[in-house]
Symmetry: C2
Subunit: 346 residues, 2 copies
Amino acid sequence: MGILGPVNMREIARRAGVSCATVSRVLSGSSLVREDTAKKVRDVVSEAGFIPNPSAAMLKYGRSRTYGLVLPDLQNPFFGEFVGAFEDLLIDIDHEVLPISVQTSDKLVKSVRRMLMRQVDGAVLVSSEFDTGAVEPLLLRQIPLVTVDRRTVQIGCSDVSIDYELGFVEAVQHLKTLGHKRIGYIGGTKGPHTSEVRANAFEQAIRGAGLTFYPGLTRRGNYQVTGGEAAVVSLMKTSAPPTAIITANDLTALGAALGIHRLGLVVPRDLSIVGVDDLFLSEVVQPPLTTIRIPRKRLATACLQAMNYTKQNLERIGAEFSVPTQLIVRESTARPKSAPKKKSKR
Amino acid sequence: MGILGPVNMREIARRAGVSCATVSRVLSGSSLVREDTAKKVRDVVSEAGFIPNPSAAMLKYGRSRTYGLVLPDLQNPFFGEFVGAFEDLLIDIDHEVLPISVQTSDKLVKSVRRMLMRQVDGAVLVSSEFDTGAVEPLLLRQIPLVTVDRRTVQIGCSDVSIDYELGFVEAVQHLKTLGHKRIGYIGGTKGPHTSEVRANAFEQAIRGAGLTFYPGLTRRGNYQVTGGEAAVVSLMKTSAPPTAIITANDLTALGAALGIHRLGLVVPRDLSIVGVDDLFLSEVVQPPLTTIRIPRKRLATACLQAMNYTKQNLERIGAEFSVPTQLIVRESTARPKSAPKKKSKR
DNA sequence: CTGTTAGCGCCTTCAG
DNA sequence: CTGAAGGCGCTAACAG
């Protein structure tokens, strides 16, 4: 079974009575080794519990078999779930993921440094700000880049966009069918481009459905519970509050639901709420949240695809990929209470 | 600024007109370099954006500056939060964390292999099953180990126990004060030792408070929402259901709350619920969950402490550390509805 | 088919 | 104070 201390290849070679090269060949599955020799080597390897040192290989090849994954906030369960999905994909190709959470305070610069240290073979930047200066070192070193929802490509950098437009249209249609006319929106923070993308998708969906877009029913959140709560309170205090809102993500929606509750109101009777993400907790809360699902697996797959494309076309402009979203109707949306009354003017 | 392709030390040395050794000395802060030479080198280093390749250093030293962190389930937000806390600690000492989720299906063996590959300097096993055979290779290679809630130590392996006893006593006291007498429990899966620890802590707390321990009001969950829901339904169908329950973790508690809701009942009117963990979502759900908080930072700190102890006493039996818990009272617990009626026999 | 050799980038003696 | 040289473990040429 096991052994004491780290065993190296030379030691394995010695025990098997062959040279390191032969051991290396056996391990890499080369067919240029006689079967009985190979078997002998394999026996020694497994008997010693030998595991090759990847640092050595990396030193030789300059490839680390790991991809950096820059996320805005690992506290948000969505990103945790996404990391898991991405990791599963990488395991199949024997790679690793280096997840890096770029909190508000630290700069992207530091995470870039960390990736450079770990010699990542590529980096995926999810919904984060794209500070050209900060990622410069990556580009200069020819490290393939993939952004999510930046909706811009450049040499050595592809983009995967999440099709919010699709989900928002479905959501607005859903609300319209229920009878909502005054639909509000609680967005994300100012920095990341995805905030604008989501806000625009909302406005377009509203107009596309033939409804009125009320700028006064729009608020900025922070992608967290706190932001959703504060925004919904502000929204409900207006003279003509919305009967339904869509939020930039589920955490914001959960915050909004909390705010409504604290106001002594109830969801969906007093306000219908639609989130974005579909956290696995969203179907567990009361009421279960109607939300626009971002499919993690498809997103992860698209990122990997984009990565491969970029890698193979490093000299060229990156490609654009897209991932669909899907409305999941649960119980946080219902017919507006006020609407019928207003209509039936008796 | 940046440069093209990976730059190595020799190149820096060349540009600065010195040798690699001098560059190395400057980078490691050796004082044996003339200040003007050092400055010259530092300028070239920062101008080239040079970052030393840790693989080379690792190859030399055999230390990877990373710790493995084996968790039962990264889907559970508690572990995500814990990884973050542990990582923060490691950043300060310039180390990294390799988080590994050991799902039900895969075996611990595989994760051990992954850690061996990455040449971790140590491993923390959180609330997982401790298969002696599987971790043997770690022990044999003299890799310091820390377990959480295994409550056993051995050569080269320390333990950090979470003081559930404390939290459960507080929780039972809280429920007793509210007037509860029939308190049930929904536990964890059979494998990990922590399940027994939590179950025993519950039973002792009940008896310690002078209440009756009803084995019939005990169920097994799976640390997930589904388990909590199924268990609570089963519990409420008994002829004499509990008026309050304590669950093995917050996810289970959330599941229980969901189950109660589906049964057409309401928390805490029909059943008071106490969780364990204090997920950041637990204060956001309706009703906010009363729960026994496991402080992540303190747990992470204790793990690191334990790791350092083990490392410095590899030949000796590990030490035992403990982390306290704390009851957080919110709104999922209240006076039982039935109790007063039963008492006032009129 | 198998062994020998050189070198990946860094650090650390040992000389100068 | 600074330079030259060797070696960490592995692999890919190149010999045999």
